[in-house]
């Protein structure tokens, strides 16, 4: 076994007991990157030299018995999270060359804990998409089948984890951007409760929906990194003061006999792929076997979720992306030399067509005369959806179902209708609207193409511990399928 194939928690144990050195692991990671990255194209920037020198430094620290919690853990970071001194582009031409003079709070927390940053990962431009095709720079491929998308928008992060180009990665999730690629790449992806993790230094797509998440090879890895990056940040007014538990304590053989699960019938409608349905059914049986109680329920307002989401996400994005005007940083097109022309040329050249489409629609939704018809209404629908969830969580501990209605689809597949474009996000979007935590875990593969299928576990506000407990128990139950690895001999 190559050291880059280690899970993060195993790495930490071995490094701390001095069985392995940080440098060996980092070298194995770069070897893997060398071997497969030209095919998968998951990284936008590889931090080779700095990572190696950090690894050597960390080995010296460990030798001196100065062992920080993350002890040189290799981490990949989605390229919409700022790292001081490292180009951050959001996979957009408009930010090409932007080098932030500050760290995001999540970045400084993992740096302070001793992590090593391996590189910045690809995404759909400004997280707008669920394929990672929509990057201005490159298309990232799914390691399970390189003709298929890895999901998005945190596709780059998911691929680096699934193909062992890092040990763990950070992503962001606006409507499923962590969970969908986790599902498509057969790994664990968590989107915590809105407010659990600081958004400071994370380039906003849609402020009220965005949340930082983790992509990992196992539930314990997720819990371990959650411990480091969660908690109140005075720099983010929307971060929560609620105390952070030790999430690793949820990853024990405690069992799930005391838990009641709700399965929304809206997650099992005609759009659901039959094989995905079967794999999810297998998992539900496992839960029953473990002593969990399952009932079917309904979330009646879910049918409006996609529309409400589109409107809110686009409206907020149109506002958040107004700052990209070429004046202080990033791309600048002078045009004919007058100010108006500079704005038009810079923004028209800098943004890709999908981003422009969303910015124009978002601007329209906020315009006077349309605000009430669209934005205000969407926010009210959002509240109805949240209330649907609240009602369920009064009686049940968790909601469970498929992460996506379909397995990873082919890169060339064309999707035209703007709502079906969100098809992959159908089951993940409502969770962001309600600000809830959710986690995707691999629950098997389609029979013919052997494509990964994800199971989504949704919790009430700040109920990540329950989610992690169930995921950990299921992971133990599904051990044999979890040892399956993508064939990386392209």
């Amino acid at each position: 076994m190559q050291l880059n194939e280690l899970k993060a928690v195993d790495y930490l144990n071995m490094v701390k007991s001095r069985e392995i050195s940080v440098e060996e692991v980092v070298r194995d990671i770069f070897q893997q990157i060398d071997r497969i990255e030209h095919t998968l194209k998951a990284y936008l920037f590889i931090n080779l030299e700095e990572a190696l020198s950090e690894a050597k430094k960390m080995d010296r620290r460990i030798k001196d018995n100065d062992i920080p919690p993350l002890a040189g853990l290799p981490v990949a970071i989605k390229d919409n999270i700022c790292i001081k001194g490292m180009e951050t582009t959001c996979a957009s031409r408009i930010l090409k060359g932007f080098i932030p003079p500050y760290d995001a709070t999540v970045t400084s927390r993992i740096k302070d804990a001793g992590a090593i940053i391996i590189g910045k990962t690809n995404l759909d431009e400004f997280s707008m998409g669920s394929t990672t095709k929509n990057s201005a720079f490159q298309v990232t491929l799914n390691p399970w089948d390189i003709n298929r998308v890895p999901g998005g928008s945190s596709g780059g992060s998911a691929v680096t984890v699934a193909s062992h180009e890092t040990l763990i990665a950070l992503g962001t999730d606006t409507g499923g951007s962590v969970r969908v690629p986790a599902s498509f790449c057969g790994i664990v992806g968590i989107k915590p409760t809105y407010g659990r993790i600081s958004r400071y230094g994370v380039i906003s797509s849609s402020s009220s929906l965005d949340q930082v998440g983790i992509l990992s090879k196992g539930v314990k890895d997720t819990a371990m990194l959650m411990n480091i990056i969660s908690g109140y940040d005075p720099l983010d007014s929307t971060s929560s003061h609620i105390s952070v538990p030790d999430f690793l304590l949820s990853c024990t053989g405690e069992g799930i006999k005391d838990l009641k699960f709700a399965v929304p019938k809206e997650f099992f409608k005609q759009e659901l792929n039959i094989e995905v349905k079967e794999r999810v059914a297998d998992s539900l049986n496992k839960i029953l076997k473990l002593g969990g109680e399952i009932e079917e329920i309904s979330l009646p307002n879910l049918e409006y979720a996609l529309s409400a989401y589109s409107i809110i996400a686009m409206a907020e994005a149109s506002s958040n992306l107004a700052k990209f005007d070429g004046i202080q940083y990033g791309l600048r097109m002078e045009g004919s030399g007058d100010l108006e022309d500079m704005y038009l040329k810079t923004r028209s050249e800098g943004f890709g067509s999908e981003v422009k489409r969303r910015l124009i629609l978002g601007t329209y939704f906020l315009s006077s005369g349309h605000y009430e018809d669209y934005y205000l209404k969407a926010k009210k629908i959002r509240n109805l959806i949240r209330k649907d969830f609240e009602n369920i969580f009064q009686k049940y501990d968790l909601i469970i179902g498929p992460t996506t209605p379909i397995p990873p689809f082919e890169i060339e597949e064309r999707i035209d209708n703007q709502l079906t474009m969100l098809l992959a996000d159908t089951y993940t979007i409502p969770v962001n609207l309600a600000g809830l935590p959710a986690l995707s875990i691999n629950c098997g593969f389609t029979s013919k193409e052997r494509l990964p299928v994800g199971l989504q576990i949704i919790g009430g506000p700040f109920q990540e511990e329950k989610m992690l407990r169930v995921a950990y128990n299921l992971e133990q139950e599904l051990k044999e399928i979890n040892t399956v690895e993508p064939n990386l001999l392209f």
Binding site: P100, R199, S204, P234, L235, A322, F324, D325, Y375
Partner: protein, 483 residues
């Protein structure tokens, strides 16, 4: 027909906090290196998020309470969108339909006709200031513009009045009173010239027959009380002329041009700009508890009206003097500082309201920057009281103190302005005066008492005022009797 004038004001005041409204950068931005007081938040860099300065809310509440407003218990911040280089995020964080405070008023006293008048306050809201643009031009053509974001994120309070103001003079009285209050509250230094207090005005002329409101124009770029008065006078006149000629006033924004003394067209407002307001998702709704309001109410400092009463009681000043002293907060502060070490309050007030204000006005210097400090003035007054110099010389000395910043004692010493208290020296001069004016001496001797004043005056002229008049008078009497 002054009463047909309808004016509403929009006043922006910069709040006196140490740090900016949404970040911890210093607010001390005037005359600093450009872009040296900025951070990711006030530069609007990607990923940065705003966190509200608690002091801003406190100062805003203080102002709203002093202006008799209703405080909204739930405040929402909104994003106001427009593209301009001084606005680094493409939107300004401001307040829209749930502002801090509404429905207030400020009572002003008008002299002609003598009346007290309530000007209603429509709303008060908090927002962030924008950066500063400098436009470089050559031969009247724009070369480039330079952006400095030091001012970006300075906390502002926008105070909007109802259109209750009926003349430019009323507008001035209102603004002076408002400035006075915010200075007293310590929420703003009220400096129009430096832009810490800014005022835009909406003006229209009410139709005489129907009583309907006319089309209004908005006037910007008025950087002093003088400019405001002149601009409003001009605009009222311009609109009246248009109406008299049967023309229409068009809805537009105009700029006061100090040099030409005219308001000039900036942009049309026929189509309202769409700012696409929506609630700022990066900030939570701001809840203001009653206990917070109560706490601030308790700590509202003495306002001008109360201070005037106190000045009349504690310092035995006339209503007129007290009023003038409290009219501008630094003036009252100056008086009180000086009064700590000088107890001829009436004399002190006269000097402050007379000489000091005269020179400050002449040199256009703010009270705070007076070259003559309260203790320096007291030093001068004490020299008068000790008969070291005459009042006449003291005025002369004061002028030099003002110009050089030197103390009275030093100036008096150096210029030999001390009174001639040496009888011998004066006696010599008296003898000359008596010899040169025999008729006057004769007049006095024959009982014309008043004639002596002419002789005293002559002696004073010879000594350039350095003699003590009482002493001269007595000495002349002595000499004449001797004769």
């Amino acid at each position: 027909m002054e009463s047909n004038t309808v004016i509403g004001l929009e006043i922006h005041i910069q709040l006196l906090t140490d740090s900016k409204i949404f970040c911890n950068c210093s607010t001390d931005y005037i005359d600093r290196e450009p872009n040296s007081h900025t951070c990711p938040v006030c530069l609007g860099l990607p990923g940065a998020l705003p966190v509200l300065n608690k002091k801003v809310v406190e100062l805003a509440l203080k102002t709203a309470l002093a202006l008799n407003c209703h405080i909204n218990r739930t405040n929402i911040f909104h994003r106001k969108h427009y593209f301009y280089p001084d606005l680094p995020k493409g939107y300004q964080i401001s307040q829209h339909d749930q502002p801090l405070a509404v429905n207030g008023f400020l009572e002003i006293e008008m002299e002609e006709p003598l009346e007290n008048k309530k000007i209603r306050i429509n709303r008060i809201h908090m927002e962030e200031d924008a950066g500063k643009l400098i436009h470089l031009e050559k031969d009247g053509a724009a070369v480039c513009s330079l952006v400095d974001y030091n001012r970006s994120g300075i906390p502002l309070l926008e105070i909007v009045t109802e259109p209750d103001i009926q003349s430019p003079q009323e507008a001035i009285v209102f603004l002076q009173k408002l400035r006075n209050i915010v200075q007293y509250l310590g929420v703003c230094d009220g400096n129009l010239e430096s832009g810490s207090m800014r005022c835009d005005a909406n003006i229209s002329i009410r139709e005489e027959n129907s009583g309907r409101l006319g089309t209004k124009t908005e006037i910007k770029n008025m950087n002093s009380f003088k400019a405001i008065k002149e601009a409003l006078d001009y605009e009222v006149m311009r609109q009246r002329k248009l109406i008299e000629q049967g023309d229409k006033v068009s809805q537009e924004t105009r700029r006061w041009d100090e040099e030409s003394g005219e308001t000039v067209f900036m942009r049309s407002k026929e189509r309202a700009q769409d700012y696409r307001y929506f609630p700022e998702p990066d900030l939570l709704p701001l809840t203001i508890e009653q206990s917070w309001i109560d706490g601030i109410k308790k700590n509202i400092p003495e306002l001008p009206a109360e201070r005037k009463e106190r000045f009349m009681v504690d310092y035995h000043l006339s209503g007129y003097d007290a009023n003038r002293l409290v009219e501008v907060k630094p003036l009252g502060d100056y008086f009180e500082k000086a009064a700590k070490s000088y107890n001829n309050y009436k004399k002190l007030a006269n000097w402050i309201l007379g000489e000091l204000l005269h020179y400050l006005g002449e040199e256009n210097i703010g009270m705070e920057k007076s070259p003559v400090s309260p203790s320096a003035l007291v030093g001068l007054l004490k020299l008068i009281d000790q008969d070291v110099i005459s009042v006449k010389i003291a005025k002369n000395i004061f002028e030099q103190m003002f110009k050089t910043g030197q103390s009275a004692a030093v100036l008096v010493q150096n210029s030999g302005f001390t009174q001639i208290s040496n009888e011998k020296e004066i006696d010599g001069i008296i003898r000359i005066v008596l010899r040169d004016n025999p008729e006057t001496v004769q007049d006095f001797a024959s009982g014309k008492e008043k004639a002596i004043h002419f002789l005293v005056g002559q002696v004073m002229r010879h000594t350039k005022g350095r003699a003590q008049p009482d002493m001269v008078l007595n000495l002349i009497k002595e000499r004449i009797t001797e004769i």
